[in-house]
Point group: C2
Chain length 356, copies 2
């Protein structure tokens, strides 16, 4: 199989971790007889420095001409005081819009070998296995107006939460179709006791649930969801929610099992290549020191193999190699939890490759 | 001292828990020579059933003529399918507006006797002691338009996040003044990398911080705050944030220490009586069974003594009595954590009274 992969390394540890994933993809290609070509594009702070834009047109072109996109992470203190349109995160928001990445999918699962690293007691997180499906191109993130205004001569400000019903439909449908291949439960999160958009969201979920008679639909208010994620995370299978709620809840969920540095994500496009990236950020404090955990990005590459290329065996082989090195006891600093021997980024990559 | 207290029992366990707090307030009055008069008003589902409105005008009058308001909880399955304007929660939203309750204050603190009940490991929650200050009358909760719209012939919906700068100022000022009497740190939570309202919020926080040179101001993005609350809750002193973020984060925070049923809150008015209520809901499943934990409401009454009436000694006496019965090992079901003997609501109230 021949595939073009766009690689956007971004800032901070983005370079090291994407390098790791590319090495693994190359090893997979060799082992299984595929031909993966990698095209590199700039995004984030580095792109601002070299081109003046957090997402140059050239990068968008590279992505559009690819079969899938691999992203590292963006941002860093160097760009924190820039005006909004010159901030690295703008690159992320723009690529989501430009590639129509309407759904962000984040699996949260328990690794028994890492339970020590979790802030939660073992009995609360054992066997946790759920997926957050976050809407990614609507809501408060993109609604207009979003500006300073004057009201009765006084300074004020407005942001706008806007959704088309069709945008709700497609993401909720995706959630149901994922649930129907898993534990058959969808938890739709909203704030229907306050927001009109949430009431439309809830109705839409009800409508779509009719097409999935074997999937149970449950509605949960966002404040309660923030509690339930901690009190009883085992209850969840698929959580689906709008953009801002999804931003907050998916980050909350990512720290439950103590394995933030290991969590992958996939952003699904309506019509073009999907984008795969780890959940963690650019971690400027450890960038370039060979300390970063490359597993989140390597597992994102495994998702790419599965979801974009349909290469289930190859995806499983990568995931299995990761499990194996964890069972050996290899740990980067973020998951070491006091263990004296720390594995470097490059060693971790080499070991995973060796165990493919 | 003579004071009028409005009591809004509400629905579910609201009746039992407010009854407990009233008993304690009466005992305090007797012991310290005060004269507290209680006026009862209806709110929530019960009010809908008897008057057709979740917050009858008469209740608002009773509150406005009082020196402080004590609230139980509202809501229940009976009213879940009502149209929005006939839902119990509307009573809550309306009383916030009618009494100008601009700030909700929720202290989150660790009880060593309850660490067993927490989902978090002891080392993460030991000595946790912070306060969430949530803006309560602005933002997405009240902005207009909030309605269905048609866009290019398609179904869509809009909600509006609106703030006046003066609304931001007064709540952030309150946060700084609280911090200056505590650990001298304010964490201002926003989403300044996406929302214009958050950028105004951040600027406002910077401006106000100039008047409090001894208080450290830190900005935190809301998604990161949702993570940090779990990863390292000890880092916080005062967290201040807008209405919707505050709704989500304060509920998340309330489950960290395993003592949800014990947490009080105070809502501060710009110009009239403050309102005091427990954090927990109306718990319809255990209502009327003498099982509810009355401590959240009793500690809310203690806050009333302190903040509305300036009765610091009396407030401390109530808090001390609560500590004492917990040290004895008295536990309602929610905090029993497997302990075989469960204390009933009425016993718990009687014991706290006896230890005043
Ligand atoms: C950087 C920021 C704009 C972004 C978001 O809020 O979507 C990030 O938090 C994420 O979740 O990918
Ligand atoms: C009932 C609901 C409208 C309310 C809110 O969202 O403010 C509640 O969740 C709370 O936090 O007091």
């Amino acid at each position: 199989m021949k595939r073009n992969i766009a690689v956007l390394q971004g800032d901070g540890i983005g370079k090291e971790v994407t390098r790791g994933a590319v090495e693994i993809l190359e090893a997979v290609a060799q082992r299984y007889g595929h031909d993966f070509e990698f095209q590199y594009g700039e995004i984030g702070g580095g792109a601002i420095d070299s081109t003046g834009s957090p997402l140059p047109d050239e990068t968008v072109e590279i992505c559009k001409n690819s079969d899938a996109v691999l992203l590292g992470a963006v941002g860093g203190p160097k760009w924190d005081d820039q005006p909004a349109h010159l901030r690295p995160e703008r690159g992320l928001l723009k690529i989501r819009k430009d590639l129509n990445l309407y759904a962000n999918i984040r699996p949260i699962s328990y690794y028994s070998s890492l339970s020590e690293s979790s802030p939660l007691k073992k009995e609360f997180i054992e066997d946790v296995d759920f997926v957050i499906v976050r809407e990614l191109t609507g809501g408060l993130y993109f609604g207009k107006p979003s500006e300073r205004v004057e009201k009765e001569g006084k300074e004020a400000v407005v942001d706008t939460l806007f959704y088309q019903k069709s945008e709700m439909k497609r993401i909720i449908e995706l959630a149901f179709s994922l649930a129907s291949e898993r534990k058959k439960k969808v938890t739709s999160v909203d704030k229907a006791n306050v927001l009109e958009s949430s009431r439309m969201w809830r109705e839409t979920a009800e409508e779509i649930s009719k097409d999935y008679p074997d999937v149970t639909l449950e509605h949960m208010l966002v404040d309660n969801a923030a509690m339930q994620l901690i009190k009883n995370p085992k209850q969840f299978d698929i959580i689906v929610t709008e953009n801002m709620f999804g931003d907050i809840l998916s980050d909350e969920a990512s720290v439950l099992t103590g394995s933030l540095g290991m969590l992958p994500s996939a952003s699904i496009s309506t019509n073009g290549p999907n984008l795969y990236e780890p959940i963690h950020g650019s971690a400027p404090d450890i960038a370039g020191k060979n300390l970063a955990n490359p597993i989140g990005t390597i597992l994102s590459a495994a998702s790419m193999l599965r979801l974009s290329f349909g290469l289930e065996d190859e995806a499983k082989a990568v995931e299995q190699a990761v499990e194996t090195v964890l069972e050996y006891g290899l740990r980067t600093g973020d998951i070491a939890n006091g263990q004296p021997t720390i594995t470097s980024t490059s060693e971790m990559i080499a070991e995973i490759k060796a165990n493919l």
